[in-house]
Amino acid sequence: MNVEIEARPRVRAGRAGLRGDAVRFAIFAALLLAAPLWLPLVGSYTDLGTRVLIYALAAMGLNILLGFTGGLSFGHAAYFGLGAYGTGLMLRYVGPNMWLAVLAGVLLGGIAASLLGPLVMKKRGIYFAMITIAFGQMFYFIAVRWNNFTGGEDGLTGFQREPLAFPGGAIHLTSVPFYYFVLSFFAIGAFVLWWVLNSPLGHAMVGARENARRLEFLGVRVELLTWIAFAISGFVTALAGSMSALLNNFTSPLDLYWELSGYFVIICVLGGMRNFWGPFVGAAIYVFMQDYASSLTKNWLSVIGLMFILVVLFFPRGLLGMLARRRSG
């Protein structure tokens, strides 16, 4: 029973606004590319921009399931965390190859999601949410208890961003080069998502969100769609987790905790679940707000909580959803 319905995901530009969309996208891309230049000018810092990219990628991965297929996953931090642990463990125990480390993280999170998919795909609504929470917590407790391997409660240390080895020389990933490193992966992840959502598969997913029963009657296996969406979102969110481990040179069970899952969901809703770039907008708002509020006051948790409540009560379509509505009429 979805009250807020937008008939089409705003993934592809409508006929009239194609040029407008291209211009907007170009501006957006330019801002992203030049971020290390203008962020310090407004009193921010490059690392914060990197964090926005990471959270945005994680939320966009979640959104393919949440906003576009209708799967209420409250346990996505599990795949984020698995991506982070996969990368950290690879760097710590195997070797300093960054590409292998990222791959390890993506595979760990993605495969976990793919394996869990069949168990989850039959459920909907609240039960879907609860089972995702349950699995998320399972991974959390495994990471916490398997002390010797994962570092347990204290987190996984002993690894760091290694220089990227290229034939011509090595690039040391300090703040600014690392930002572009993450931006590249963000672009890849976003492109994959965009491509999926614009394919027939993607349209079917949206159909599953709107009216699963009708889609079943048409012969489409909704469960299978949910599974695929779940798996893809797991891979993308794991990629974000991998980046996060490299940003902090550290990961801990908190990256797997259900609270983080909740933050990912609110980010999707905040920016607009039905919009492709909605989660990015939500991530930007959330990361900046959390950074600002936690420096300003001890009561920043209340500020975040209040934001949750205000968004849910008054802005359920999210920022981009509101803007789209206003434009269309």
Partner: protein, 288 residues
């Protein structure tokens, strides 16, 4: 062997406490259709209110009065925050209670301070009842009794009072109940308040054996969810059973492999969700 028996017995006692926590949550899940992430926050609030009242009305007075204080706040939350979300995607009520949980924790810390508060229980309850079963203290027996009485009391309310009948009917078919002339706004508010009353009660009892801190709610809420899912949403005896099962499971496993004591709870939950999604005693199709 003795360790196993002790572990199981002890787990049973702990299970009653989980059951008490799960009861209120189950009630709210049933009629209000809300996964109340803020349940832990209301629990902590109950404990803190009791601590504040003890100098005036003593432990027993606080045990009776503080839950009503929590329930009053629950009513306000229901009226202002949750009511607008009925009929919407369950996603929104989840997010709302999540945000509310953050606020409750923060406000508790702001009002009473981050420092844990020394909540004392009556002296005569404070020691073991038997030398062999030394883990059965007077206080823990009280918890068991309160949990059992609460379950029976709730059962009686639902079976024999008008409010209870309306709640049960509402669980089955809210629309019909509304068209029969029952004020469902009042019904849902009352149901929510009842659930929060139980949360506050659980919180006070928890304060007696744990430290009273602003974060105590968040560590207690997950086992409650598991208890409901295992026992079956929509069934109060189910929640009791669910609580007992996970209590015993955790208690026994801790004896032999403490590292696995939490995972085993979630494993049981996952198993139940896969094999019998409605829970052991739950109603079919409640959340499809």
């Amino acid at each position: 062997m003795e360790l196993l028996l002790f572990g199981a017995f002890n787990g049973l006692i702990v299970g009653f406490f989980y059951a008490l926590m799960a009861l209120g949550l189950s009630l709210i899940l049933g009629l209000n259709n809300v996964i109340n992430f803020a349940h832990g926050g209301f629990m902590a609030l109950g404990g803190y209110l009791a601590f504040t009242l003890v100098p005036f009305v003593g432990f027993w007075g606080a045990l009776v009065l503080a839950p009503f204080g929590a329930a009053a706040l629950g009513l306000i939350a229901e009226r202002g925050l949750i009511r607008p979300l009925y009929g919407r995607d369950p996603l929104y009520s989840l997010l709302l209670t999540f945000g509310l949980a953050l606020i409750l924790e923060d406000m508790t810390r702001t009002i009473w301070g981050p420092q844990g508060l020394p909540f004392s229980i009556p002296d005569f309850l404070d020691h073991p009842l038997s030398n062999v079963y030394f883990f059965l203290t007077g206080y823990r027996l009280l918890v068991v009794i309160v949990a059992a009485v609460a379950t029976l009391g709730l059962f009686a309310v639902l079976r024999f009072t008008r409010l209870g009948v309306c709640i049960r009917a509402g669980n089955a078919d809210l629309e019909t109940v509304a068209s029969l002339g029952v004020n469902i706004y009042f019904l849902r508010a009352a149901n929510f308040a009842l659930g929060i009353l139980l949360a506050g009660l659980a919180g006070i009892l928890a304060g007696g054996q744990l430290g009273l801190t602003p974060t105590m709610g968040s560590s207690l809420i997950m086992p409650s969810f598991v208890a409901i899912i295992v026992g079956g949403a929509g069934s109060l005896i189910g929640s009791l059973l669910g609580g007992l099962i996970i209590g015993v499971a955790a208690g026994v496993v801790t004896m032999y492999a403490p590292a696995a004591s939490e995972v085993v709870i979630y494993l049981i939950m996952a198993l139940v969700l896969l094999i019998r999604p409605r829970g052991l005693l739950g109603q079919e199709g409640l959340f499809e």
